[in-house]
């Protein structure tokens, strides 16, 4: 049998999610196994491979066999993979989720995806500038600096149709042009990497998996608008992303892609990383600028827009991580190639963090124009446990819930906005029939209430009053007229707030009232939570016909609320019951009824 040990190479996905799922232990297990066997098989690390639902993920590339991806890898499986695949040359098919040359069921996850932003994610070692360059990295920058004028770059960006991926969808080329045309020698470029939407991890994955792509895009933007200094404002909650960014900056300075006289073009550019300190509102561009200046991150009135008066009152261009990561691809491949994807008004691709009640959740990149249904059911594989789809939440706390009747819409900025939701930065949380829409609305409002900076009265006080009403409804004390009060307050907050946070804070409430008014009414009029989520509205009972008196529930109950004779039917004392659900989970006969 031929020894394959040196014709294979092993790559372990070591993004934050991979590490949380145990990828670091798997990496070590491979190292130990190689050491013990005296194998010199290269062992590499990479960022997010994208199939988050299968973490930890390991790729084995073998000459002649191609690439095999193993999913849900445990330390125990490592020895077999090494023995059979790397030494024996025969992939362990039962652990594989993807194999070149053979279609496994998980392949459906990739069929509809187009990976432009995620072109290198999960393939290269994010800590190696050489691997980035080998994959075509810094070609865009080289082309921009040696063959193109700033005007040509701006024109290319305009022609590509790229719109800001942070959520608002302003055309990036137009934004760059505004900053470029401003008078003055001192200008800035900023990366908004303050990804704060709960349920979104697109930017983290890009920064962890391919930090150079963002740096390269930023440098091209700096050249186009004439900036000599740039900042990356990153969330402090993303320590790995920050570390990899700093490493990428140091490496590209050393190679001459950053710093003085880049690639002999005469253009000089420096980048600094600023770590955020935990304030959601700093995702708003004027608040972010205040924060970089060392102030409280409070938004201010626009105009003047940052393009005219931004950081330290100088012309400033701000885009988010995904927007910049698109730029090198567009410059290298041309505007037309980019605009070939998407719809009339929304070009290219969009990265989504597909999570919640979904079979295949993870980081997906799809062309604009694909339907929500295709993303959820074809890419994501639908709803697990045979449950029924109820709604998908787009755009986080600024967005809304799209119900089943609208999931055939095409994903583009205008179509999503028509549903009352927003494209947002890419959070896509799927909900099934066990998710209570009133509870979800309350959840988001609680978030924006906490994060309101307090500058505008309607946002500061109005969200508080709305939250009180929602708290009342979900605890069974809803009153007549509460729905109307929520709608009225919501509209007032939208029209009376300065920044995007306040203007969009009521969206989750308004869209759930629009599509799921019956759920609100059930809570208020019937004191009933149809999804069985809101605990104060639930009662736990034991069906005497199904209970055989096995006493499992008695032992599971932490507060001693269940009683009864052995082999006789048990009862729950509803006064003592804390509705913790332990008895229902313990019962093997489905005798615990929740209503």
């Amino acid at each position: 049998m031929p020894d394959q040990s040196t014709s294979s190479r092993v790559t372990v996905g070591l993004s934050s999610c991979g590490v949380a799922a145990g990828a670091a232990q798997v990496y070590e297990a491979f190292r130990r196994e190689f050491d013990e066997r005296g194998l010199s098989t290269p062992l590499r690390r990479t960022g997010c491979i994208g199939m988050c639902y299968r973490e930890p993920l390991v790729d084995v590339d073998t000459e002649g066999l191609g690439r095999v991806t193993y999913g849900g890898v445990t330390e125990e499986q490592v020895a077999r993979i090494v023995q059979e695949h790397i030494v024996g040359g025969k992939p362990v098919e039962e652990f594989a989720v993807r194999m070149e040359g053979k279609r496994l069921p998980d392949e459906a996850y990739y069929d509809r995806q187009v990976r432009l932003v995620l072109r290198n994610a999960g393939l290269i070692d994010p800590e190696s500038i050489d691997e980035y360059i080998e994959a075509g990295g810094y070609e865009g920058l080289t082309k921009a600096l040696t063959e193109m004028t700033p005007e040509e770059i701006v024109d290319t960006m305009k022609a590509s149709g790229l719109r800001g991926r942070g959520g608002a969808g302003f055309p990036s080329g137009v934004k760059w042009d505004l900053a470029r045309q401003q008078p003055g020698d001192v200008k800035y470029v900023i990366v908004n990497a303050d990804e704060g939407d709960p349920g979104a991890f697109m930017d983290r994955s890009v920064l962890e998996g391919d930090p150079h792509s963002v740096l390269e895009g930023l440098t091209i933007a700096a050249y186009a608008i004439g900036a000599a200094e740039g900042y990356i404002y990153a969330r402090a909650e993303y320590p790995l992303a920050v570390r990899r960014l700093k490493m990428a900056i140091a490496d590209s300075e050393e190679r001459g892609f950053l710093g003085m006289d880049i690639l002999g073009s005469g253009f000089s550019f420096r980048v600094k990383v600023k770590e955020g300190a935990g304030a959601f509102v700093c995702g708003e561009e004027t608040a972010l600028i205040a924060s970089v200046e060392g102030k409280r991150g409070m938004p201010r009135l626009r105009p003047p827009f940052p393009a005219a008066k931004g950081l330290w009152a100088k012309p400033t261009n701000i885009n988010n991580v995904e927007t910049y990561a698109n730029v090198p691809w567009i410059i290298t491949n041309g505007a037309a190639a980019y605009a070939a994807y998407g719809t009339e008004t929304s070009k290219g691709t969009k990265v989504f963090a597909l999570t919640g009640k979904i079979v295949r959740g993870g980081l997906v990149e799809v062309p604009m124009g694909i339907s929500l249904r295709d993303v959820i059911f074809e890419v994501g594989g639908g709803i697990p446990d045979g449950r029924k789809f109820k709604a998908v939440q787009l755009g986080g706390p600024s967005g809304g819930c799209v119900p089943e009747e609208h999931i055939d819409i095409k994903i583009d900025y205008e179509s999503v906005t028509k549903t009352g939701a927003i494209m947002g930065s890419g959070g896509m949380v799927v909900m099934d029939d066990r998710t209570c829409m009133v509870d979800i609305a309350r959840f988001f409002l609680q978030f924006t209430q906490d994060e309101s900076c307090g500058k505008c009265t309607f946002c500061r006080v109005g969200t508080k009053r709305m939250l009180e009403i929602l708290d009342r409804i979900t605890s069974g004390e809803g009153r007549e007229g509460d729905i109307e009060r929520l709608e009225e307050l919501g509209q007032q907050i939208v029209s009376s707030s300065l920044c995007g946070l306040g203007q969009s804070a009521p969206n989750p409430v308004l869209t759930t009232i629009r599509y799921f008014r019956d759920e609100y009414e059930a809570h208020i009029h019937e004191k009933r939570c149809p999804a069985l989520t809101c605990k104060p509205l639930l009662t736990y009972e034991i069906d005497p016909d199904k209970c055989i008196g096995c006493t499992l529930c008695v032992r599971a109950c932490p507060v001693g609320a269940v009683s009864g004779e052995r082999k006789g039917p048990h009862v729950i004392d509803t006064e003592l019951c804390t509705k913790c659900d332990a008895c229902r989970k313990a019962c093997k006969f489905e005798a615990v009824i929740v209503s």
């Binding site: 934050s16 999610c17 590490v19 949380a20 799922a21 988050c52 639902y53 973490e55 990804e195 704060g196 939407d197 709960p198 349920g199 979104a200 991890f201 983290r204 402090a236 909650e237 993303y238 320590p239 600023k274 770590e275 955020g276 300190a277 935990g278 304030a279 959601f280 924060s291 970089v292 200046e293 060392g294 102030k295 409280r296 991150g297 409070m298 330290w312 963090a353 999570t355 919640g356 009640k357 959740g361 993870g362 939440q393 986080g396 959070g427 949380v429 909900m431 998710t435 979800i440 959840f443 988001f444 978030f447 994060e451 900076c453 913790c580 659900d581």
Partner: protein, 172 residues
């Protein structure tokens, strides 16, 4: 060190830490936030006496320092436990049952959200999103992330964390 000095008195070591950091950052523009981050990193939290020292040394008015520090959730005015448990309350975690995980962790340790255990071992915080949504529900203890948790597993993790004699040194 951080746990022994009351909020009204700073140790000479703490003051010299502050002085060194202020000197290091004083020439940089927009340096107040990174300066506070560095002080908190080394001292563990920002009691009034420390903020006053920063003001004195940097020339930034105390009101501005407190204004900035109180705006951002990262800055703490109370000492924290040796380990910080962050329970994720992001959307994905919420729909997968994070509420029960928070309850289980707090109940197991006998503290409220944001509180520190009596022995000073743990501080429990809830956070908006750790970005590991595919592994929801998630908790993070210091730098270790634990995913796909049931409330019972969360209890076990918290109960057993650091009991094998390998509990790391003090945070601050």
């Amino acid at each position: 060190m951080a746990n022994t000095a009351g909020p009204d008195v700073a140790t000479p070591e703490q003051l010299s830490v502050v002085d060194r950091i202020v000197a290091e950052f004083s020439t940089l523009r927009g340096a107040l936030i990174p300066m506070l981050q560095q002080v908190q990193e080394e001292i563990g939290y920002l009691p009034p006496v420390i903020m006053e020292r920063i003001a004195e040394r940097s020339g930034v008015p105390p009101a501005r320092i407190f204004g900035v520090a109180s705006f951002y959730s990262q800055f703490r005015f109370e000492p924290v436990g040796r380990h910080i448990i962050r329970v994720c309350e992001g959307t994905a975690c919420h729909v997968q049952g994070a509420v029960d995980v928070v309850e289980a962790v707090c109940d197991e340790l006998g503290v409220a959200e944001g509180g520190t255990t009596e022995d000073g071992k743990f501080t429990v915080e809830t956070v908006a999103c750790l970005g590991c949504c595919s592994l929801a529900p998630v908790i993070m203890i210091d730098e270790d992330t634990f995913g796909r948790l049931t409330p019972e597993q969360a209890r076990d993790i918290v109960r057993n964390y650091g009991t094998a004699g390998d509990e790391g040194g003090a945070k601050a």
